[in-house]
Amino acid sequence: MLSAMPRRLRLPFSILVAALVAGAPSACERRGGCTGSYCGTLIDAAVGEPGTLLPTSTEEIVARDIEEQLFLKLADVGMSTNTVGDEDFQPLLAQRWEWDGPLTLVFHLDPRARWQDGQRVTATDVAFTFDAYNDSAVASPYRPQLKRIASVTPRDSLTAVFRFRERYPEMFYDAVYHMRILPAHLLRPVPRDQWKTAPFGRAPVGDGPYRFVRWQAAQSIELVADSTFFLGRPRLRRLIWRFTPDLGVAISQVVADQADIREQVVTPENLERLRAAPQIALYPYRGNVYTFLSFNQRANGDTAKPNPIFADREIRRALSMAVDRASLVRSRLGELGKVPPGPMSSLLWIWDPEIRQLPFDTAQASSILNARGWRDHDGDGIRDRAGQPLAFHILVPTTSVLRKQYARLLQEEYRAIGVRVDIDEVENSVVGQRVGTGHYDTAILSRANDPSPSSGIAQTWTRAGFGGSNFGRYANPEFDRLVDRAIAATSPDDARRLWRSAMDLINADAPAVFLYSLENMAAIHSRVDNVQLRPDSWAALLRGWRIPSSGLIDRDRVER
């Protein structure tokens, strides 16, 4: 065929073909050298990319995973994810701590801790960090979680003193969990209102087990182990987050052995693909996200008026009872989901299957609707009252395949009891805007919990969340009181009992249908050993993972 080509075109065409053909074999060559116990390279097939690696400003899960390796907290929760008192908390920057009176907590920093530019980590850094997280110019999303800490001051270079406004069971958790300590000497010169765009966020200097190496936009972020890390040299030499915009491609990278870990597989279809890959081991762990159908109790677009359908508690209860949540979870998520016993993920210690929930009972749902006057008067299959059909819209983001599938399944379940549902699939930013301003009937929304029930439930389901995350404007003063008492309870047993009462009540009020709680499954290359996944943060214990020298593959040995 080449002979038929004009002579002038033959050479460039040949060069192109040769280059393409030659590229493949040459790229398959590997340059190796590293041997021993500290050679591992772990590539994470990440979906999405952080905007910055400055901990005050990040909300993306992938950013938090990377920051786990770069910036230390004073201490962190243990595998139990207990948040009450200081039981099972693990020391990190703080070597030890003690209470100096009921409202004063004193941390003693580990004198061996160093920033990666050689400077010592001091109590001044701790005080500076608290001040930054609380500065409105920084606009940190973690600021509300720190509101009960009055001040943080350095007593000497290695002693930081926390003073609280009130006494409550999660004082220690609040002091250590939300803040990653920042280097004051590097960030003090940066104006606070410019932190979000500060160059430091794209080339951070931390004090954690790994050092930042490079960030290639829309490609990867690479970290390398700090061999002098004061809590012990990390066993994996190099960590790479490889960004892929599509979950399916990320799963393919793990299946094809071009990445080592996908920490969440999300769908049963992905799980099956990964099960078929012989080099992959699967690790289940508790999930931290729950999803619900939120009923807007205010009129669509006018928060001053009650919603003609959802302001009625009995109607909400009927619509909750019409949904077979267990079947939906079984059919769409299999082992990757559970029916939540309230507004919570299985990460929370208040998760209790004994919490009272509304049953799946379409007969009772129908009789409630009949009793409230919603009957099919005109025989069109849709209930109506005073000429108005019982109909509403479900708002769902286009980016979530799972939630779109759920919307269709809910549409079908509601149709069966004579309720017409239309589905509005819109971009995530539009969902955010519409639920934030009350321009919706119902919406399928998700929430991520941190290990404590306190802040998340209060912000999303009590009156304190009005104008914030309580989009449906659910308000029951008795529920708010129970939550406040549960948060303030001094004994874990009391707290558990009060949380259970609060959950019984919110389930009875049915401000939403609590559809599913995701159960996580991590797919990790089987050569990786000593894998420990803490449920609230899979990457928190990465520095202990290792690849035995007998399991090294080419990319583990690469020297650069």
């Binding site: 460039p12 393409l20 060559e29 909300e59 606009a139 071009q258 971009e427 995530n428 930013s429 999303t460």
Partner: protein, 334 residues
């Protein structure tokens, strides 16, 4: 002199078009529904945070104030800050444009070299078996959705056969930077599937286009005259037929170039290629006003430049067009 006037006229018109597009994009993205504060809808939000961010980025100002400020920044070469990427827009574009150029360049090369050659090959064997077979093959290839072809190639050659990498522009372990001949080869290896996907579908269209153009020119009197003069078939095809058929080819080039630079979004997403199309879509989804407007600016500049370039090339290839543009003669023979 008249050529210079024509050039200046085109330049002024081009700048006006670009200005109009940027204005339109700026207004549309600002009035479009959607909340730029929404990152992940999984996080509980602090009611006080969003207004703060909006104030920090000046989004609380009236639209005309924001627009005026944007134009002033633009005149100083400042494209603004991306609040989804937490960095200057200029830096984000500077990183993605080279990748887009690499992918588009190779895809364009495949598209036009293969397409041109196939078109000529078919035209010289019109209605014979190779032509019939290739016509059907190119029609089939042209009708394939590129995203489907991309997924099939990825599944087949990357996941199953493991001949090519599964996305990304380079091996993140061996070649995070292009600092050796080895890494150049690695980049080419990573380019193969995305460039082939874009290039082959394009080549199928180009081949059909070129075949039709060649056959149309073959009916012209000057081709018959060239043959009557006793010129060799090769000379007739290359000097007379192909050169005249190139006019439509150049027009197609002018139209294809912008598409390859800005329209390869799906390919960039599937192959995790860090190009400008992907950046633009992410910017739209996050309502990143500065980034969306900047990508609109780049896209319109490329479209206008592509057409401008095509006009110049047509003028070079066909003196009749130059005559017409100069206003000194009839554009076509009587």
């Amino acid at each position: 002199m008249t050529g210079v006037v024509w050039l200046l006229r085109r330049l002024v018109a081009s700048v006006a078009i670009i200005f109009a597009v940027v204005t339109l994009v700026f207004i549309l993205i600002h009035v479009a529904p959607g909340d730029p504060c929404v990152g992940s809808d999984e996080s509980a939000r602090d009611p006080a945070m969003c207004p703060l961010l909006i104030r920090q980025f000046g989004l609380d100002q009236p639209l005309y104030v924001q627009y005026g400020r944007y134009l002033l920044q633009l005149l100083q070469g400042n494209l603004g800050y991306s609040f989804s990427l937490h960095r200057p827009v200029r830096d984000a574009l500077a990183e993605t444009i080279p990748f887009t150029l690499q992918l588009a360049g190779v895809a364009l090369l495949i598209d036009f070299l293969v397409g041109l050659w196939l078109g000529i090959y078919q035209a010289l064997r019109v209605n014979r078996l190779p032509d019939v077979v290739l016509s059907n093959v190119t029609l089939f290839a042209y009708s394939l959705p590129t995203f489907w072809l991309a997924l099939v190639l990825l599944l087949l050659f990357a996941e199953k056969v493991k001949l090519f990498p599964l996305g990304g522009p380079s091996d993140p372990v061996l070649c995070p930077l292009i600092d050796s001949a080895y890494c150049v080869a690695d980049r080419i290896w990573h380019l193969v599937l995305p460039a082939l996907t874009l290039g082959l579908v394009g080549a199928a269209g180009t081949a059909r286009f070129q075949r039709a153009a060649m056959l149309e020119v073959a009916q012209q009197d000057f081709v018959r005259t060239a043959r009557a003069k006793g010129l060799s078939e090769r000379r007739v095809v290359l000097r007379h037929q192909l050169r005249n058929a190139l006019l439509s080819f150049i027009t197609r080039f002018g139209l294809t170039l912008p598409f390859l630079l800005t329209g390869a979004v799906l390919i960039e997403t599937i192959f995790a290629w860090p190009g400008m199309g992907r950046l633009a879509v992410d910017a739209i989804l996050t309502r990143d006003h500065a980034l969306v407007t900047a990508t609109g600016l780049i896209a319109s500049t490329v479209v206008v430049s592509g057409n401008f370039l095509a006009d110049i090339l047509i003028g070079i290839a066909d003196p009749r067009v130059r005559v017409a543009a100069d206003g000194t003669g009839s554009p076509l023979p009587a």
